[in-house]
Symmetry: D2
Subunit: 348 residues, 4 copies
């Protein structure tokens, strides 16, 4: 099987990272690039690093043409676009993988409260499968619409899954101190993310108001219904790519460090993209740069009884385009690592 | 009054920052620069940015000569040096301001446990005044030996003081997620702090083992004896200067955001170097770059009841040399801001 | 004498750097901050690092009010503003120091050709004194209007002056490969200068078209009328501050390295802000960070006969605000280093 | 055909980049990793980003074992190692691709003058083929020993080839102002390349003394025997990867910009890894990040008659490991882009 793919929102960073992966994906026959701008332009004109690699023009989205041309479309669009576009596009013959946050929250009211925008229809939210690949593999296989997880939730949830799914976490104890590279803020220029203002700088933003909070809470509540509100903060780090979630939790049971290590190692034993660091060692974001890995380290503090979990990903890969392609592979029953495994982290 | 000053450990980053400040301090007549290397060398040879500004040679420390020549010496030396040097140097006529961690912990056993080195004599530890300027002003005035606070403790303790001193903090609830620029690791080259390995990277280090943990605990326990163990983590940020402490606490009383803002504003009302950010606004590290300010923002999360406090400093200024000079001013009864207030943050 | 000063264009990077210097200048009584935006706003709202330091509002420019209120105004405005504003403002009682390029070129046609904007009136261009402090000190003393040099021309011309003024340079042999930090591009956000696109990147821009080319040529032709067209290129370096000009020239006479060193040392012997590096040593941009220094290194290549001169400045200081204040000091007969000399380079 | 490959010097940056490429090379059966350290260690212990990807131990070099085990060895060793090791290793059955500078200069005396080390034997220097893939393809096909070009020479020579090979360049007119990311300095830590000293800094180094000068001169002299000494300078840019060579030349003939564009386009028409930018556009280093491309832009200055050529590469890819694998492909008659073409530049 060989597929015709579309990327809607190709000029953003999620879009161009999807293009980087799909260019070498053995099952992708064609990859059409859509943008909202009506100006006729070559993709390589927007992104000159693609000179000779991509000679395509950017296209405008026309619903029927998109439906007729593709087996699957990736939406790498700003908040609010997919909420109105996906209901139009979805058919039995066109799979949708939405990288935006529009289809992740099951409750339309929650979306409107945290995103300050009109929600997608409730039935589409119901239908959409949350694409945290490692956790929802079976659902993804038969999905029509996949809500690809947010970058912060991916790092956080993979870090928490082994202990939350084991019902080990004390309610109200979860604190996530998250840090992201600046590419997470998207391509639209702003004073606050200009080089001059962000270099040699470190900022906290959206304190108690980040839209990924309800997304994380929805999932952990699903895994353990005693868990609800978390504390979650996001910082902007003077680097381009990478997310680190430093997670603090209290456990209900008195486990030892080696038992926790065993739990994590076994939990992710057969996962190709999750790597548990050796006891005493912790990952840096550069260790996953340009790759689809999620690296996790953990250490129990015997003085306070708190467990610290450190989870890192490349926000544009496992936190966006990489996981989207992983889901695409699951959906079409390709080898799950296809097109991704050869993306060895770029180091240094 | 005009003073003869010595800097021991002048070739490290704390030392060169002390030199930057003292060069323009109106009460400093002379500033002698000491190093442990026996090679005869000009200071401007080690730091060419001081060409024409400083024409002095580096000197070796000879106890009696140091005692005879100076009114005060700053020790900006690696861990372990002050523990053995300070007892030799201290006299009634020579004040010591130690920027290292050697004299901060009152309990010699704690020092040895966390620093893995031989402690200073217990009586010297007893005598040393902890130089958190804003909190210990009266003690500093009459001190012979000042233990200048660590960079992380300074940011953390100034962030916590208003609520801890008001006995508002729930025991065992304090979590500090701290982030530092790479200059905090000192000047000695290592693979892990080389440009190539640290740029576009974000690391956590010394998980549950940082030597600033007992320093912070000692002080908050002194302020509220119900408080003891904290969770405290340190991250290396790809920038040169700056510390941010993101502090999570639970409160014993149900306070509102505006009550907390009032508490902080009043607490620091007359402090020249602590700035409380307007409600809803948070500082970035660049806002204090090159200056002696500590900027603080805070926000109560009504969903979880947790309070988040964000405290930033320049690790080499308020976190080291700047606070040392502030203490020097207090000690000699100069205007507390002398030589420091004109150091407006360098922005951008 | 104590002066009332205005900064027009206070919200740009040149403006905020002027403010940083003038805040501590002993002869400045008041410093009013002007902007083109009509929104009433505190300066510290635009630049929160000035919280508590500056409590002033931003003001709109009203010609008569400006003329009545100030002894001198600094224009730190984008190209094109001063060309129309300066003629309105100038009076016998109001000195103008223009940091923009609008008054630097004597020939209105040249301005229009390189800046693509309407020129200032020819008589104003004639009257304006080119404020390269070290070279035009006498003219500056009696000027009404000072055209403060561009950042690249300052680094380049100070690097070239000793040999060009000695008529040593072979015509047509001058090549300047210049590199600048991103703050030189100003505060207005753009994709090309966003953190994400500029970090880990190095770009060349305005090839053969930079508006500082005619400025440099005008001055070197004045110094040696056999010299005219130069080759001059500008690169954007992933750092905030700093300019390096790497200058390649051929000499008319066979001089030795030590003779050239002597020439440079003697030429700048009494200059407080120009430092010649020891033979064999070259400055980096960080050596002048935040200061008004221009550091110069040079080396003759005996294989090719070419001389390489490396000249570095902080683009916002000696390349803009610092030199403007130096000119202000000369103009009002203050000590030339007043308010500037204590700005020791911030290192690291 | 499927090959057994060895990497000698696997712990350096050239070595780890070779590993990144060869891991996914379809014709490589096994890749053994050699280091000079005798300590038994896993490769992923030195480079934790390779956890799960590479489970091999590092091995010590034993000449006979290396000869017996491999079809080809890559030497990614510091200067001086290959000069003594290659003569021992070379046999008819073992191809050598040397990434160091030891085998590039034909004249042993030149090597000793510029590298200050003992040269390889003259006959080995004679035998070694200079592996500038685009230019020496035919020789590479039958080589036993390949001297892989230096990073600066690769960018420079590909930028100069079309005009030098056309005998268009005026003798003595070539000036190359080169800039490199810090990874070019290797992995060994040093104060000058530590994060804190190199961040927000820009340095020139080895002025008139860089060992790549004779390498470039040797090749351009071979292409046009009227050309000899060049001016060549190297700068350290605060980024990890990337080289830009800004090249200034005077031409013997009066060509127009469009004629020069045509010359370059035609010259590289069939080259898979050289991309000529559209007229008026210039590449940044990030455009080739992580890839094997060399991107070139050019523009004639009609005012001075000088041509500017800008050539960028990733110093670890086309400037080292990428070109080495390209040569490996040529040598073994694989498709030249094998294992390389799918490495799309990582952007942003």
């Amino acid at each position: 099987m060989s597929l015709n793919v579309g990327i809607i929102g190709a000029t953003g960073y999620g879009g161009v990272e999807l293009h980087r992966i799909l260019t070498n994906h053995p099952k992708v026959t064609s990859c059409t690039l859509y943008t909202s701008s009506s100006e006729k332009k070559k993709y390589a004109h927007v992104y000159p690093h693609l000179t000779d690699i991509c000679t395509l023009d950017l296209e405008m989205v026309e619903t029927e043409q998109v439906q007729a041309s593709h087996d699957v479309v990736f939406l790498a669009t700003p908040s609010g676009v997919s909420a109105s576009l996906s209901p139009e596009l979805v058919t039995d013959d066109l799979k949708i993988i939405d990288l935006s946050g529009d289809l992740r929250l099951k409750n339309p009211g929650m979306y409107e409260q945290w995103y300050h925008k009109a929600s997608a229809p409730a039935d589409l939210l119901e239908e959409a499968v949350y694409g945290l690949s490692e956790m929802n593999r079976e659902l993804i296989k038969t999905a029509n619409v996949i809500a690809n997880p947010g970058c912060y939730p991916t790092a956080t949830l993979l870090g928490l899954a082994p202990i939350v799914k084991s019902q080990l976490v004390k309610p109200k104890s979860i604190i996530i101190d998250a840090k992201s590279g600046v590419s997470g803020a998207g391509r639209k220029p702003a004073v606050g993310t200009s080089f001059t203002e962000m270099h040699e700088n470190l900022k906290i933003y959206k304190v108690h108001e980040h839209q990924h909070i309800p997304e994380i809470e929805q999932v952990i509540h699903e895994w353990d219904d005693q868990l609800d509100a978390i504390s979650f903060h996001t910082h902007l780090i003077p680097m381009t790519r990478g997310i680190m979630a430093t997670i603090y939790v209290e456990l209900k049971k008195n486990l030892k460090q080696n038992e926790l290590m065993d739990l994590y190692i076994q939990f992710y034993e057969s996962e190709p993209f999750v790597r548990i660091r050796a006891d005493g060692s912790f990952p840096g974001t550069k260790d996953v740069y340009g790759s689809n890995y999620c690296d996790i380290g953990l250490k129990l503090d015997e003085r306070t009884g708190r467990l610290t979990i450190v989870s890192v990903i490349d926000n544009l890969m496992k936190g966006a385009a990489g996981q989207a392609v992983q889901n695409f592979n699951i959906l079409f029953d390709f080898e799950e690592t296809m097109g991704l495994k050869q993306m060895v982290p770029v180091y240094p």
